[in-house]
């Protein structure tokens, strides 16, 4: 088996295990699920805070609840999916890659993320 195959299989296994864990355990009421280290240290939410609860909500099909926990992450999931598909599947397109990894695109992503980081702490999103 090639190394690439092993890595792919390992990723799939980890994803399945994680999905089962996050389906069964509700991070908002669990006492042992990890908390964001940035939040614990500073008292401010990071751009990713709520990601465990978002995954739990999505696995139960509750999109509205997921949006309540972290709307930015909910919006980012399709974008991340697009990047993953274009990087690692035969569906990849050179032209799309050119757009997705254009410096202006990346700069926009960073700007959006930083804006979300500030706004969610100001308006308690």
């Amino acid at each position: 088996m090639s190394r690439k195959r092993i890595v792919t299989l390992a990723v799939i296994v980890v994803l399945i295990v994680a999905a089962v864990v996050y389906f069964v355990v509700d991070p908002s009421s669990s006492r042992w699920m990890p908390r964001c280290i940035f939040l614990s240290l500073t008292g401010f939410k990071c751009p990713g805070c709520g990601s465990q609860r978002v995954i739990h909500a999505l696995l139960h099909g509750d999109v509205a609840l997921a949006a309540h926990y972290n709307a930015f992450l909910l919006g980012a999931i399709p974008v991340i999916g697009l990047y993953l598909i274009n990087d690692y599947t035969p569906l990849r397109s050179r032209r799309l890659d050119h757009v997705l990894k254009h410096p202006a695109t990346i700069a926009t992503l960073v700007a959006l993320m930083l804006a979300w980081w500030v706004l969610r702490n100001v308006y308690e999103l």
């Binding site: 006492r31 280290i37 751009p47 960073v110």
Partner: protein, 196 residues
Amino acid sequence: MRQYWINFNGKQEGPMTMEQMAQMGVDETAYVWHSGLPDWVKITKVPELNEMLHNGIAATSEQPEQDTAQPATQQDTAQAETTKRQEDTTPPLPAAQQAPPAIPSPQPRQQAMEEKMPECPPTNLVWAIIATLVCCTPAGIVGIVFAYLTKKHYRQGDYERAKKMSDRGAWAIIASIIIGLITAPLSCASQLAQLQ
């Protein structure tokens, strides 16, 4: 001053100095050769010419002759100064052996560049985004910034720098994951401790 031969817009000219080249209005599609190089190279691969393209002639014209700094040309001087002089004044040998890659004019420049340069080093962008959103924000964002720099340098034709930024980006993501893996159990432990 070092003498260059240039292949630009389908025409081969030389020898000429960097100043003359700048007056020609060359751009990054040009190929050049100078004594010490084994073959024609993209103009962006010659550091001083790449600088000239981006910053104009003023920034580079003051630079001292770089012949001694390059191993290939050091050999030349070691062999025989006269041979080098000869080489400098005759049309380059590689031109006779192998014509430089022609640049078809109807092709868009961007596409021509992509074909001539090695593939862009991985930006690891998607992993940097994932690391930012689930592992550790500061290191993840550093990873995204390195992805940006990788692409930026690559588009400017600076492959070496792009590769360096790509590697650094990978390390930022690894750091992000490791910080995440260390802090998650600590976080769990502290929560369990609070219960008791």
